[in-house]
């Protein structure tokens, strides 16, 4: 211990030293003599990292955090927008096509075209716990014929025509709420039909799908059903769900459908909507118990071609995320590498005065983590408070519906973990290389 005494006249202060601690000769156990814990090393590393960052150029730090934010947003945004496509497809399917569970006519031992005694079946299903609502559909096919100018040059388009109970369907699908012209069906509308915009054609219709070249409200169309029955309908309304599959359909009432196929109290499908907290599996089991002969399927089995889209989107997301992650890691690596290169002499000095390599490595890794964590924080704030609200109010309009950002929190957390992991590695490698360098080479640059 050095103790300072009053300086002698005209002299330097006198410092007195405590007798140095003797080390045992020859066999010195340095690790026992100098117990420096990992915690202490981390504290020192954090101190050096803090000083380097706080005394560094503010603009350079801000730029680095900005780059990390962009890297993080890149990871989150691409996966969220692609996830939004999958979510939109799923939502459209569940809302406008098949709901949660679909019940179809028996296939074994004899295949039947329709489910019989549907009213009773729906009432039984409605009593199952967790069932929110049921609906029935008649799935008919036919050709819609429209002679716009009444000159004999009609346009014919094949389409699926769905028979629905209008009052029930209003609460079951979005179609009633998505009328762009005219009105929805009502219970007595036996001569009425509503057309999807992509089937009707005209302003706003998809240009890539063949349509009726502008059938509008009040127009008369003729439908030739596949069973040979021909009916004339008045177009009561045009709807647009933004889901190409639905927007190329037409809807008539169930009563009208029954007259076409000469059926009563039956259906091609019974759709079951499940309460959000309920188990689809359990309800499906309950339905199978009620009617063992019927075919009961979850909505996912109807995603068909869309499941391919989902898996493709998942693959694209994974690839783009991996590229984004590599870009982020390389960015951090370059920044830390440049930092280490510029601080080569300083690292040599630190080692020369007795600072362990691991403290130096920790300090650079902590710097990398600081940039990554700051990037994650700013990236998260920008995503949650700028991008998500923006895309909620300005969704992307695609043939599968309106696409907004669909954050998957598991993936979000994984992205954070991956970026921090990348920062850890990207900070570790150059600092390890720098810290391993010979002290004299580092100091003199030779």
């Amino acid at each position: 211990m050095i103790a300072k005494e009053r300086p002698p006249p005209g002299g330097l202060v006198v410092i007195r030293r405590r007798a140095p601690e003797r080390q045992p000769c020859g066999k010195l156990s340095v690790s026992k003599s100098y117990p420096i814990t990992v915690f202490k090393n981390l504290k020192t590393a954090a101190y050096l990292a803090y000083k380097t960052i706080s005394r560094g150029k503010k603009a350079a730090n801000a730029l680095m955090v900005f780059i990390m934010s962009l890297a993080f947003i890149n990871l989150v945004f691409i996966s969220s927008i692609l996830n939004g496509v999958v979510v939109a497809i799923d939502r459209q399917l569940k809302t406008n096509v098949v709901s949660n569970i679909v019940i179809e006519p028996q296939e074994e031992p004899v295949r039947k075209d329709y489910i019989q005694r549907v009213q009773e079946l729906r009432e039984d299903i409605g009593r199952l716990p967790g069932v929110a609502a049921t609906s029935r559909h008649y799935k008919l096919s036919g050709t819609v014929i429209f002679d716009k100018n009444k000159d004999g040059r009609s346009v014919r388009r094949g389409s699926q025509i769905i028979g629905v109970d209008p009052e029930i369907e209003k609460d079951f699908s979005e179609v009633a709420a998505k009328m762009v012209r005219g009105r929805y069906l009502d219970g007595t509308g036996s001569g009425d039909i509503i057309l999807g915009l992509d089937l009707a054609g005209g302003p706003g219709a998809s240009s890539t799908i063949d349509n009726l070249k502008g059938a509008d409200v009040g127009d008369k169309v003729e439908v030739v059903f596949n069973n040979g029955v021909t009916r004339k309908y008045t177009v009561r309304g045009i709807y647009q769900t933004n889901f190409a599959l639905v927007d190329h359909m037409a809807f008539i009432t169930s009563k009208e459908s029954e007259t076409v196929i000469a059926a009563y109290d039956s259906a091609s499908q019974v759709l079951v909507r499940v309460e959000p907290s309920a188990s689809e599996e359990r309800i499906m089991a309950g339905i199978r118990k009620l009617s063992p002969a019927l075919v009961v399927r979850p909505w996912t089995e109807y995603s068909g071609m869309f499941s391919g889209v989902s898996s493709t989107v998942s693959t694209i997301t994974a690839v783009i995320s991996a590229i984004g992650l590599v870009v982020a890691a390389v960015t951090i690596f370059i920044v830390i590498f440049v930092n280490v290169t510029n601080k080569r002499r300083q690292i040599g000095i630190l080692k020369a005065i007795g600072i362990q390599e691991r403290i130096i490595i920790y300090s650079y890794v902590l710097q990398a983590l600081f940039y990554a964590v700051s990037g994650v924080i700013f990236g998260t704030l920008i995503t949650l408070f700028a991008l998500v609200p923006y895309f909620a109010s300005h969704p992307l309009e695609l043939p599968v519906g309106s696409i907004s950002l669909a954050l998957n929190w598991t993936r979000f957390a994984a992205n954070i973990g991956m970026l921090l992991g990348a920062a850890l590695i990207a900070g570790c490698v150059p600092s390890w290389q720098g810290a391993r360098e010979n002290i004299l080479k580092a100091i003199w640059g030779s």
Binding site: I2, Q346, I353
Partner: protein, 241 residues
């Protein structure tokens, strides 16, 4: 305090260079030893080996009873932290730290953040080197002489057994150089600090107890004497016994 035996250093390369060719000498506790010689004589190389900044090709270095060449790299680092102080030719301060933080850093590493006494001691050391009014200045805000005095204060903060100084006045003007050398002398006389200093200025001899002259990697002669040690100034390069 320091025993050096047959120390050799060969720099590998296309043409290997023998910078030290078998140097032996001893330094007693409390000595202020100058290492002098022409450029390329091996004086800085010798100091680097003694300061554990480089590994010799052969020989032994025993510092305060510890055969330091037998230590692992981590142990050498800790030994430097605890027992050795080093003053470089080019100040070698950490640019992001103030004068006070630079001086305090080795103590902080050794004792942890709560070492308030170390902090006060760092202040005292800066006071001693005449920089009590520059505590919170960054290196770029200090003159060369001031930076070197900060480096000297830093070398002392962990109460090292030995301070090594590698041409500490080489980049200083004559006035600053004189201040630094006076400081070393007073630290040696009043603190009893053992100091080994490489210098190329013959005039610096006046500040030290002994001078080890090197030539072509060997001890040419030793001038002066140390209490308790018999000095042999044979020009055969084997120094004192």
């Amino acid at each position: 305090m320091i025993t050096v035996r047959d120390l050799k250093k060969i720099y590998a390369g296309r043409v290997p260079v023998s910078a030290l060719r078998g140097v032996s000498f001893e330094v007693a506790r409390g000595e202020f030893v100058g290492i002098m010689g022409r450029s390329g004589s091996g004086k800085s190389t010798l100091l680097h080996q003694l300061g554990l900044l480089d590994a010799p090709t052969a020989g032994r270095i025993i510092i305060d009873g510890v055969d330091v060449l037998g230590l692992s790299e981590t142990q050498k680092t800790l030994f430097r932290l605890h027992s050795l102080g080093y003053v470089f030719q080019e100040y070698a301060l950490i640019s992001e730290l103030t004068a006070l933080e630079n001086v305090h850093l080795p103590a902080r590493v050794l004792n942890g953040r709560k070492g308030r006494r170390d902090y006060e001691q760092a202040k005292e050391l800066l006071d001693i080197v005449g920089l009590s009014d520059r505590l919170h200045h960054y290196p770029h805000e200090l003159s060369g002489g001031e930076q070197q005095r900060v480096a000297i204060a830093r070398s002392l903060v962990n109460r090292p057994k030995i301070v090594f100084a590698d041409e500490p006045t080489a980049n200083l003007d004559s006035q600053s150089a004189k201040v630094v050398l006076e400081l070393f002398r007073k630290l040696n006389k009043e603190l009893g600090q053992t100091i080994l200093m490489v210098t190329h200025e013959p005039d610096d001899k006046q500040y030290v107890n002994r001078v080890i002259w090197l030539q072509d990697g060997l001890i040419e002669r030793i001038e002066g004497s140390a209490a308790g040690l018999s000095v042999d100034s044979r020009p055969d390069g084997n120094g004192i016994q």
